[in-house]
C-alpha cells in the first residue's frame, strides 16, 4: 500500500470510481445523442438513416450498456444524496450500496427483453 493512500478499495471507493466512470461515459453519449437528434433539422431521411444504425444488434448491445451505466449512476446518485443529507446515511452507506446493486440487477434483467429483444429476433429470426 503506497503511503498517503486514504482509501482502501472497499465499497465506498469502488462505488465512487464506478460513479465517475459511468458519469463520463454518459456525458459523452449525451453529446453524440444531441448531435444525432439535431439531424431532424436537416431532413427526415438524414435522421432516419442514423437512427437505423441504432437498431442494429451491435448498437443494441451498446444501448444495453448505456442503460446499465445510467441505472447505476441514477441509483448510486440517490445513495450519495442520502449519505450527504440523511443523518444516518454515512453509517448505512454499505447497506445502501448493496441495495442499489440489488435494484440494479433486477432492473437490468427487466431491461433485457425490451432492449435486446429485437436484436435477438434480427440475429436468429423471428
Amino acid at each position: 500500500m503506497p503511503a498517503g493512500t486514504l482509501y482502501r478499495g472497499r465499497e465506498g471507493m469502488w462505488s465512487w470510481v464506478a460513479h465517475r466512470v459511468t458519469g463520463v461515459l454518459i456525458f459523452f453519449f449525451l453529446f453524440v445523442h444531441v448531435l444525432d437528434t439535431a439531424l431532424v433539422r436537416v431532413s427526415p431521411e438524414a435522421y432516419d438513416k442514423v437512427v437505423a444504425t441504432y437498431k442494429t444488434p451491435i448498437v443494441a448491445l451498446l444501448e444495453y450498456g448505456l442503460v446499465a451505466a445510467i441505472l447505476f449512476h441514477a441509483l448510486n446518485g440517490l445513495r450519495v444524496i442520502a449519505v450527504d443529507f440523511w443523518s444516518k446515511g454515512p453509517r448505512y452507506q454499505k447497506q445502501m450500496l448493496w441495495t442499489v446493486m440489488g435494484i440494479w440487477v433486477v432492473l437490468m434483467v427487466g431491461a433485457l427483453y425490451p432492449v435486446l429483444g429485437h436484436a435477438v429476433r434480427e440475429l436468429f429470426g423471428s
Binding site: 463520463v24 456525458f27 453529446f31 444531441v34 437528434t37 431532424v40 427526415p44 435522421y47 440517490l78
Partner: protein, 163 residues
Amino acid sequence: MSADTTTATSGIGPVEGGAGTAYGVDNPAPVIEAPRKRTAKTPRSTRGNFEMAAWLFMRLSGIVLVVLVLGHLLIQLVLDGGVSKIGFAFVAGRWASPFWQIWDLLMLWLAMLHGGNGLRTVINDYAERDTTRFWLKMLLYTATVFTVLLGTLVIFTFDPNIR
C-alpha cells in the same frame, strides 16, 4: 502564525517512532497548523460559494434527472416496441406536444450542466499542469455551450413539415 511554544507539560505520552525525541518544556513539539487556518497571508476575499452551489446543483439536478431520464428511457427503449419504433415521425408526434418539448428541454439543460460540472471536477482532479487544465476546461465549456444551444434550437425550431 506565531511560534507558540506553550505546550502542556503533562498528558503527553511518548510519541510513536520518535525514539530520542521526547518532547517537553525544553524541547517543545512543533506546532502543526490546521490545514485551512486563516493567516495574515490569506487573502481577505475568497472565491465565494461557487463550489458549494455546484455541489448542491449536482444533488438537486440529479433528483430531477432520475425522473426525466428514466422516464425518457422507458418511453424510447421499452414501451411500444423499444428503439425499433423511433424515427422522424415518432419525434414529430412527441414534439407536437408542449409537454414533451418542455420535458426534453429541461432534460437537455440539466443533463448538460450536470455532466459538464461532473467533467469539470474530473479535469480538476486529474489534469495536474495548469495549462492542460485550463485548455481542457475551455474545450469542455465550448462543447457544453454548443450542445446546449444546438439542442435548444432544434427543440424550438423543429418543423414536422420540413419536406
